[in-house]
Symmetry: C2
Subunit: 335 residues, 2 copies
Amino acid sequence: MAKLLGNQTVLLDKQPIILSGAAIVGKKEGDGPLAKYFDDIVDDEYAGEKTFEAAESRILRDAFIKLLEKSGKASTDINLILSGDLLNQCTAASYAFRDVDIPYLGLYGACSTMSESMTIASMLIDGGSIDYAVCAASSHFCSAERQYRFPLEYGSQRTPTAQWTVTGAGAVLLGKKGQGPRITSVTPGKIIDEGIKDSNNMGAAMSPAACDTILNHLNDTGRTVDDMDIILTGDLGSFGTTMLRELLIKNGIDPKNKLSDCGTLIFNLEKQGVVCGGSGCGCSASVFSTYILDQFSKGILNRVLFVATGALLSPTRIQQGETIPSIAHAVLVEA
Amino acid sequence: MAKLLGNQTVLLDKQPIILSGAAIVGKKEGDGPLAKYFDDIVDDEYAGEKTFEAAESRILRDAFIKLLEKSGKASTDINLILSGDLLNQCTAASYAFRDVDIPYLGLYGACSTMSESMTIASMLIDGGSIDYAVCAASSHFCSAERQYRFPLEYGSQRTPTAQWTVTGAGAVLLGKKGQGPRITSVTPGKIIDEGIKDSNNMGAAMSPAACDTILNHLNDTGRTVDDMDIILTGDLGSFGTTMLRELLIKNGIDPKNKLSDCGTLIFNLEKQGVVCGGSGCGCSASVFSTYILDQFSKGILNRVLFVATGALLSPTRIQQGETIPSIAHAVLVEA
């Protein structure tokens, strides 16, 4: 039986297993350093659909179908899908999963959605409520840009702290039995708002939330940075990762060489013109579901604290002069 | 330990308890038939804030504070808040809970959010992951109208199937021990899309989802309509409730006089000019958290299947010619 550990960590008794993962990404992501790990690279930004929004639903749905194929499961084996995205009213996920005939829980955690879904699903499997769950998230550069910033046709310049929304969808299958790395504890995050107002500097807004969740996880479990192979954030980008390092040191924790970030892993920051790196729910979802799981299967990684981070802003609230609340949910994954 | 029952119902072993509820609503709701049950009625549509969006966060936060007061709990007693709303990027909830220092799970289920949050929280408590959770949801007529339809200043006419977004926030406290009605099983819903395209007819779009979840709950549990005091949907309105009745009969289930709907309970449909009734996450949240819990405490209700329904559309996807996917999550509440 699961139990609460310290302030906000849940120690999982049955340790749900990550049975499989799959990801489909866009062309730019396919030109990046992780290309060979992705299951498919879609060159057409419309993915054969008529709109960017429909394209995002399409790649999310296709990642789900690929996941079922890879895991040898039928959709009737899956008890729940937990998913979300950045689009208004989370329609990428709602439209992707509207005819799969599987119970569905819609989440909104901005770019923390992947670890939020894994946090909830692993507690539900541990508690016996369900046996198998799919956790998935997506984002799309074109649908996100026009919703959050400007229509692409404007050709807006990017600020020095900007990140590049990943076109991608990632999905993992969690189950009560089988082979794969295990989720041994989870630390759902608190909403943290340190007063950042610049919506082109999400890394700065999110790093305090990542710091808070990491500190609480380490305090609750009695573990140290040395116990982790990596602490994998998603997606602080290069600027936010530097801020996280400073915040951790300020709080007495030296992260040494353990910090890694999905937003800096997915692109070549020097060559691909993405400024501080990737962002979007689909970034950490696709990096975790493929590259990270591959590193586990090869024995290169054995213990990873996966901490996806989300900036819970809206364009409306920012235009009203508000600051950016953020959140980070952590799942500890062990071989 | 929880167990799966039939296709999609989870039978809860520990039966989490609804310890308390609270709701704060707007002036129009305070003029309706349930006025005396609400904890506070806010005459100012800005609730003392500068924007409608900030006002929605304010009433949600105040409902949460009222809930803590009524239940005699401190915020440190609460392990998790599960909440969501209709605003883009779910900012009513994110901004409401940004400084309460409690782990937070953001949900998006449109108007099904209240039963979605109770579905997840009761499974988490049952599984031992947490002891106490707050489930909450909100909506605001003014913030919803300008986001989904037209700026209020346009004074648009309403169609014969329109519903009126409730200004209101409701919250319940679920716990592993104490006094109150119990959640004995939950049926998370599937996304159903029967091809309705009229975003002014949400009742029609959502009734097939309500029907599907109710049928699955009854099949999975072996119960009948006669076992329920009421089947409480939220918010199909009068038109959607008529459709649900027809759909159930078509599927061999006569709902008799058991159907009740939060959207028709909260307003006087003849006198208040709300056409088919209330809608919005805050409608079922505020009706369930106060009036329904009051009826349990008086012994008038003893078994209620609470089935909040959500239309998972977005204005963007509707403008692109898409249909409206919908969902309904059911929780069985017993004295």
